[in-house]
């Protein structure tokens, strides 16, 4: 098997940085267990990470989220990631823990009136299944089906900060051409992770097949220190508010992409994100990620 790359994204406290591992092999559609628990304590506001074997529709994800909530008899928000398809959803689960139900008295804890809603990263109810793919791409910053990373020539743009799509776009076309890829053969919605000369990184999405204006920023970017930034270079505030939590996920998917996600949260929530594709570190945090909570 050929090592083809790893994408790893971590939301963790500093003390858990040592958990980070890497690896990944092209082996068809395979989920690889990474040895850390795939469900841990709540991340923030009881967000937990869980996986499902073959979730595809919103209904599949909601069912998986409810099952996860039932298994710990606790409502909350569950980040559910499909092992087979490049889709993910936040599932907000409501319900009440069954009273007087404890393993000690022979009862498996569960939720009464458990119900769930698939949500976007912003907390809005998903209205179409296509949003499952968008959320997945937002979480992993690449298309898990086919991670594509390019280095932008400085003649097009030297930094993501303050850049224009109109200046970056032709550079993406050129970088893809250098890899033997004609941009028009990529499907609409394809994500490309772009590295700039100054160390900034950003994900761009294909929006049409016209000669101009076919790449747009996807809304995910980092500065040279691996900190999430906006177009102006300002740090994006940590959307998490408080609490503890975690969970982890790691997997491999076919078509040249393998990736890894670890999420572990304890008392101080900080986001660290490492992305490695084709053996190359694309995003590597140095010191601080998202903090404080």
């Amino acid at each position: 098997m050929e090592l083809i790359g790893v994408v790893r994204k971590t939301l963790t406290s500093r003390r858990w940085k040592s958990w980070l591992v890497s690896g990944g092999y092209s082996a068809g559609v395979v989920f690889v267990s990474c040895g850390v628990p795939d469900q841990a304590m709540a991340l923030n506001g009881f967000t937990q990470v869980t996986t499902c074997a073959s979730c595809y529709t919103r209904a599949d994800f909601v069912a998986s989220g409810i099952q996860a909530a039932n298994s710990i008899a606790r409502p909350g928000t569950f980040l559910v990631i499909s092992n087979t398809y490049a889709r993910s959803a936040f599932v907000a689960v409501t319900g009440e823990p069954a009273p007087n139900c404890y393993p000690s008295n022979g009862c498996n804890p569960y939720l009464i009136n458990a119900a769930g809603t698939a949500e976007t990263q912003g907390g809005a109810a998903m209205t179409s299944d296509s949003q499952l793919s968008l959320l997945d791409q937002g979480i992993f910053a690449v298309d898990r089906k086919s991670p594509t990373v390019v280095t932008l020539s400085p003649q097009y743009q030297t930094s993501f900060i303050g850049s224009l799509d109109e200046e970056v776009g032709p550079g993406i076309d050129q970088a893809l051409a250098n890899k033997g890829i004609n941009w028009i053969t990529l499907p609409l919605g394809a994500i490309v992770l772009v590295k700039f000369q100054d160390g900034t990184r950003a994900a761009f999405v294909k929006t049409n097949s016209q000669i101009t204006d076919h790449w747009a920023w996807f809304g995910v970017a980092w500065n040279a220190n691996g900190q999430p930034i906006n177009r102006g270079g300002g740090l994006i505030q940590n959307p998490n508010t408080s609490g503890t939590g975690g969970g982890s996920f790691r997997g491999v998917i076919s078509h040249g992409g393998s990736w890894e996600l670890d999420i572990v949260g304890v008392d101080l929530c900080t986001m660290y994100e490492t992305i490695i594709v084709d053996g190359e570190v694309v995003v590597q945090p140095h010191d601080t990620g998202w903090e404080p909570c």
Binding site: S128, S130, D143, K145, G189, T212, A216, V220, R231, H255
Partner: protein, 343 residues
């Protein structure tokens, strides 16, 4: 009665001659008849035969000429837009029809305005400065993926329009919304495209604290529903846009792909199949068509047309499979099997 017979004969002959003129000389039909085409539109009573279209390099049956007046009118507008060397003149020629409620005029007006807005954003407009054409050409000359020909074309078609007060014409998005609400098929497909793009870029908009740049206007906000309505027109522009949207349409389906769980290898083949059908049904797929120029920027063999491009690109993945996919699309369109088109 006898005196009326010669007059009746003249009238019949005149009617036949007029019909023949419409079929063979009407500008829109004439253009379409040169395109490689396939099948009879279900609304039309058509003749078909098989022949090789040298222009497109594909062995395809000649398509029928459309008799539907809407189809002809749309083809006329499309032809006018494609051949216009100056969009100021084009917009001036249709603005009154658009204002009077002609949804086809509204759509092609929005297309012209959008083309110029997009082209000027790409090549000329920068924060605090608008490049001259020489500056834009200089900028393009050191970027191999930017077509200097396209820079010149955008300038020639648009500079007069861009120099005008935009309030004179109205906003492209507003004309598109009006055409969409009136049920103009290509407008419906374009609005569906914008709605998908809005989903793709709303994360960026949120990160920067701004509204989505691609926010479509109007009450019809379900992109799949818009496409399901639009495809019933069998308008070649609609078929092309559906092809372009295969990547996001696959993501919006509630059934996973059967043979390829990730689906990534099938999207472009589906795109090509839809584009092939669009070419067959009258889309401009000549070597100078806008979509073919986009696909080719400095990369295609000289004189290659759109169908030849599709054949060349598909060759690697198997042109026979592509033909099968295209055949499947044709049959479903002809059978009005809208629910089976993956929309």
């Amino acid at each position: 009665m006898k005196t009326l017979q010669p007059l009746l004969g003249v009238l019949v002959l005149t009617a036949i001659a007029a019909g023949a003129y419409l079929v063979f000389q009407h500008p829109a039909v004439n253009r379409l008849s040169k395109a490689p085409t396939a099948r009879a539109d279900s609304k039309t009573n058509v003749r078909s035969n098989t022949a090789t279209s040298e222009r497109h390099g594909a062995v395809l049956p000649l398509r029928s000429s459309p008799t539907d007046t809407n189809t002809i009118r749309r083809a006329e507008y499309r032809k006018k837009l494609e051949t216009a060397s100056n969009y100021y003149d084009f917009v001036s020629s249709i603005i009154e029809s658009a204002r009077a409620g002609d949804s086809d005029a509204q759509y092609y007006l929005s297309e012209a305005l959008n083309y110029c807005n997009r082209g000027y954003r790409a090549y000329f407009e920068r924060p605090g400065h608008t490049r001259t054409v020489d500056e834009a050409l200089q900028w393009a000359s050191v970027r191999p993926t930017v077509s200097m020909d396209d820079v010149r074309t955008v300038y020639e078609k648009c500079h007069r329009l861009q120099e005008m007060d935009p309030s004179k014409w109205g906003l492209a998005d507003e004309w598109l919304a009006r055409a969409t609400n009136a049920g103009q098929p290509a407008a419906e497909a374009t609005t569906a495209h914008m709605l998908f793009v809005k989903q793709l870029t709303e994360r960026a908009a949120a990160a920067d604290g701004r509204a989505s740049a691609q926010e479509p206007k109007g009450p019809r906000q379900d992109p799949n529903a818009l496409l399901r309505t639009a495809v019933q027109s069998k308008d070649p522009e609609v078929l092309f846009k559906i092809g372009e949207l295969q990547g996001v349409l696959a993501d919006s389906r509630d059934q996973p792909p059967e043979s390829d769980p990730t689906g990534s290898s099938t999207h472009f083949e589906d795109t090509l199949a839809w584009w092939l059908v669009a070419c067959e049904r009258g889309l401009d797929c000549s070597e100078n068509s806008s979509w073919h120029k986009s696909a080719c920027t400095n990369q295609c063999p000289p004189r290659e047309n759109g169908v030849e491009y599709i054949r060349r690109v598909a060759h690697e993945s198997n042109f026979y499979d592509l033909e099968l996919r295209a055949k499947d699309i044709r049959e479903k369109l002809d059978a009005n099997a809208w629910d089976e088109l993956g929309l």
